[in-house]
Each structure stands twice: as C-alpha cells, then as structure tokens.
C-alpha cells in the first residue's frame, strides 16, 4: 500500500527559536501588538510503500531519527494525508 505522510519538524520547547523570535519582534512593528508565541517549523511530505500503517510509521520514525530531524534541537510529529 502507498501512504502519503506529512512530517512536521518543530523546535524543541525551551530552546531559543531564532526565526520565531525574529518574526515575533517584527509583527508589532506592523501594528500587530497582540501576537505572541511565534514559532516556525518545517513540513516534509513524502509517499512510501508499506504493508500497513504501523509499518509505515515505524519506517518514518526511523528516518526521522537518522536524518530528517535532529533530536537536540527538533521534535517531529507524523500524520497521514489523503493520497492524491
């Protein structure tokens, strides 16, 4: 079976997110003074063939550990999307 997968890689809470912090400081300059907790993450989309959803998840987890995310500064969440 082919699965469409979305991986969101976000900053570890507590570690300074320089991109989020910079954007957060920039928004008030445009008059948006009610905005906080800005964080910027990246999304990786891919498709893979696997026997089951569980097998797909296991493989994605392994790929995240090895390459797609750095556990020192990043966390990730995995979700399935509609295959198009």
């Amino acid at each position: 079976m082919r699965f469409a997968i979305r991986i969101d890689v976000t900053h570890v809470p507590g570690v300074l997110d320089p991109q989020g912090a910079t954007v957060e400081r920039a928004l008030p300059a445009l008059g948006y003074t009610n905005v906080g907790a800005v964080s910027i993450s990246k999304t990786i989309r891919l498709q893979l063939d696997a026997d089951s959803e569980a097998a797909a998840l296991t493989q994605v987890d392994e790929m995240c550990h090895k390459l797609l995310a750095n556990p020192v500064i990043e966390r990730y969440t995995v979700s399935f999307e509609e295959l198009v």
Binding site: V15, L16, P18, I73
Partner: protein, 228 residues
C-alpha cells in the same frame, strides 16, 4: 617527517584550500580526502573544513554525515586520531555524533562575518596543546548557523570535564555559555566555528590561528609516533 593532515572535501566545501595552504605554511603536509572514498588513507590528523557540504540541505551537516568518508573519520577518531571540524566541519561532526549538541541559526538571524576574540579555556586538546589557558586570540568567523545549543546535562558535563575549548569574549551569535568550540572526552576531537586557517598569516590581518594549527600538527606528529 612532516605531519600529514587529511582535509575532507565534500561537494560544497569551500575552505579546503585555505586549510591546506595554512598547514603547508607551517611545515605540515596536507592532502585532500574525497568524501565519497571510505578511507582517511595514512594521514596523522583530519580536518573537516568549512563550506556548505551537500548544500547544507535539510540541516547543516545532516547529509554530509552519511558520506562514506565519515565512517573512516569516526574510526580514526575512536583510535585517538586528531580530528578538527571547523565551521561547517563542526556542524558535520556534531551531526555525526562525534561531538554532542547542535549548531542552529544565529540569534537575531544575522549572518556574521567578522574577526572576533576567543579565549582559550583548556590546553588539553589537539587544537590547543601549545596555547595557554586565558590567551585571547583574534580569529575570523563566517557563519549563519553557529549558535551552539545542547541540553543542560550535556552543558554541565562539558564544563565539569573541561571540554569547552574556546569561548567568545563577546558572544556574536547567541551561543550557549559563549561556546565557540568544544571537544570530546579524550580531547582528540575538536569542533569550533571560528576559522584558524584564516588567521594564519599577518597578511590576513591576524596570525593568532597559528598556535592552534601548530598544536594540531604537534598532535598529528604525536599520533604518528604512537602508531609507529
């Protein structure tokens, strides 16, 4: 015999010739090591130089760590061989797990290209064995992702085990605890963001990097003797 320094070349590396030139100026022998070859040949020390290995895609150093040469570098390091990662090389060897922590985008999101002051914090490493603790060296930096981070336990260990090698006198990038460079437990693997090779001749504005490169050549000579 001159100490033989291998300089790793990935697609996107751009400081390999500077390192080679500086090593040769100081009486060492330098040879380039192609990332696709799973060997460090017969070198006495390895430098992973600066640049944008594999375009820095995904994260800096993330893809470079899977280049065939990196297993050979890890084995060389495990056998006590001197390994120094400079700038992008520091990012590559942290991704490879040879050093703890990670380098993320500079605080303030500015690319910093400047000559900064570094304070030598330990002389027990392959990069600082001829330096004196407390020495302040003027060395160029040139990076967007030099903001060192690690978890609190790792930072405590780095401090307790005398593994912070150089600190910024005036922190330019938000780096945790002003860290500019760290080493492994044994002191034979060092990573730092500043470029000693760019401070290896007065014509370049500073020769404060010479003591670091001479330290590396001394460590390389020792390693060669220990292996012989």
């Amino acid at each position: 015999m001159a100490a033989k320094v291998g300089v790793v070349l990935f697609p996107g590396t751009n400081c390999e010739l500077d390192v080679q030139w500086a090593v040769e100026q100081l009486g060492g022998e330098a040879m380039l090591l192609w990332h696709g070859d799973a060997t460090v040949r017969d070198v006495d020390a390895v430098v992973v130089p600066g640049g944008f290995a594999h375009g820095d895609y995904l994260r800096t150093g993330a893809i470079a760590r899977f280049s065939p040469v990196m297993d050979a570098v890890a084995a060389f390091a495990a056998a006590g061989g001197p390994v120094v990662g400079i700038c992008n090389g520091f990012q590559v060897i942290t991704e490879a797990g040879l050093l703890p922590g990670a380098l993320q985008k500079n605080a303030g999101l500015t690319f910093v290209c400047d000559t900064v002051e570094l304070r030598v914090e330990t002389s027990r490493t392959v990069l600082t064995n001829l330096a004196t603790v407390g020495d302040v060296l003027r060395i160029p930096i040139n990076h967007f992702e030099g903001n060192y981070v690690c978890d609190p336990d790792t930072l405590a260990a780095l401090r307790a085990e005398d593994r912070i090698v150089v600190r910024y006198v005036d922190n330019p990038n938000g780096s945790l605890d002003d860290i500019a460079g760290i080493c492994n437990e044994a002191g034979n693997v060092v990573g730092l963001m500043p470029h000693p090779e760019r401070a290896s001749d007065l014509l370049l504005g500073s020769e404060d990097g010479v003591v670091l490169l001479q330290s590396l050549l001394a460590a390389a000579t020792d390693h060669a003797a220990a292996r012989a």
